[in-house]
Subunit: 230 residues, 2 copies
DNA sequence: GTCAACATCAATGTATCCAATTACGCCATA
DNA sequence: TATGGCGTAATTGGATACATTGATGTTGAC
């Protein structure tokens, strides 16, 4: 983590340690480097990043507001535990807001983006590793929303994708390659509706896509992920 | 702002200065004590609350994540400017998520809450002062969602009500008492649908309620509130 | 007279140090 | 042996002091 300014392109977080720490921690959590429920000690992180505890504390605050970390006053910080109830709740919210984002987005979407989406769609079908699938699927959906002139909504959606990342990983392992044909079909239909710029159709298709996933999550109860009652 | 522990009931934020400061600042912003765009100096707040700048900084961070304050690294903090585009965006989101919250809520709602809602509904119609209307209207809607077992969603909704507070105030002044009959009628219909626990109907009615308000906001362009390009 | 470069200042970002709270382990006792 | 109280250690919350960045005003040259 360098401190001097980068010559290649402006570093948005240049000079602000806490942002850099938050970004790095967030990436680590999403990559699965930290087990949910793990205690996070400020001093330990401070040493790792070569700073004092102050920027670490601010980074942890940011991550808490994103739902990735839980802070308890005078006690400590923990990596947020996975909670199937929270996950289901978030999926219900996503069923409502992501169709909105997509329908707004396709009104402004340029040809290059549509081509890129089609490319991603094909890569997703060709993927063999779960981690590849997760990365590509995320890029496909988030890119499809990007042309919507709704920054607040897009930030919310990304936050929700982050907090449910562990469940998507577990779910992907669960269904395996043979269960993916449904997802591929849904993606193809969505892709086609995007091409037609059919706002109503994409909304229904995307809602079904998310809703079906939620119901499957609820039905399978995902072994290996602790369900916290606190 | 007392520092000793309160004997009457556990103070959730006891011992955590930053939460107390954030709560107080948030209330001040929502009450209109700070003009949007006003610069906020850490040292000034620290002096006012009798603390150092550390808790102030953390409070400002919290408020930033709620959209009430804007932080610029190495520069400072400002009370978030009102932005008609952001307001419209949030209303579009609310049109999707609040019907979800309400339909989930009425499934669990007890009789006492329904009675309280009816009471609030009547008080809203009887209100003469804008500030009273704002307070009652907010309580009515947020209470109607409260029985939904969706904490993340409810937190989001409250956040949105906060960031658009200034617009609701301006809007209320704009339409005056004579324009309120539409709102009252909508509230009555929603109230009746809640009584019947008609999930589909409440969703449509609430969506219309929010959507109509949004369109009126967009049409009137609310004089007196700066529209920032930034 | 205008513009540019520099110096000074003010406000934020960070490090170090101290205080307060919590957690844990030990010991005494029933 | 199990349990309750107490004391110590570890960790977080906050205050003070210093470093760094950005803004402002002045001065000099063209």
């Amino acid at each position: 983590m360098r401190t001097e300014k980068s010559p290649d392109g402006p570093d948005k977080d240049a000079g602000v340690r806490s942002h850099a720490i938050a970004t790095d921690l967030r990436a680590g959590i999403l990559a699965g480097l930290y087990a949910p429920g793990t205690r996070v000690r400020q001093e330990e992180l401070a040493e790792r990043y070569g700073t004092s505890r102050i920027p670490v504390r601010e980074a942890l605050r940011d991550l808490e507001s994103e739902g990735l970390v839980v802070l308890v006053p005078n006690s400590g910080a923990w990596i947020a535990k996975t909670d199937i109830n929270e996950c289901v709740e978030i999926y219900k919210i996503r069923e409502r807001i992501e169709p909105l984002a997509l329908s707004e987005s396709i009104r402004n979407m340029d040809a290059a983006t549509i081509a890129r989406l089609a490319d991603l769609c094909a890569q997703i079908e060709a993927s063999t590793e779960v981690e590849d699938f997760l990365k590509l699927d995320r890029e496909f959906h988030l890119l499809s929303y990007k042309a919507a002139a709704m920054p607040t909504l897009l930030a919310m959606i990304e936050r929700f994708w982050n907090t449910t990342q562990h469940y998507r990983r577990a779910y992907s392992h669960l269904i395996g390659k043979e269960g993916q044909w449904i997802i591929h079909s849904e993606h193809r239909l969505i892709m086609e509706a995007i091409r037609r710029r059919d706002g109503m159709d994409v909304q229904h298709l995307l809602e079904s896509h998310i809703r079906r996933t939620r119901l499957q999550l609820q039905a399978n109860d995902l072994p290996g992920l602790a369900r916290t009652g606190k």
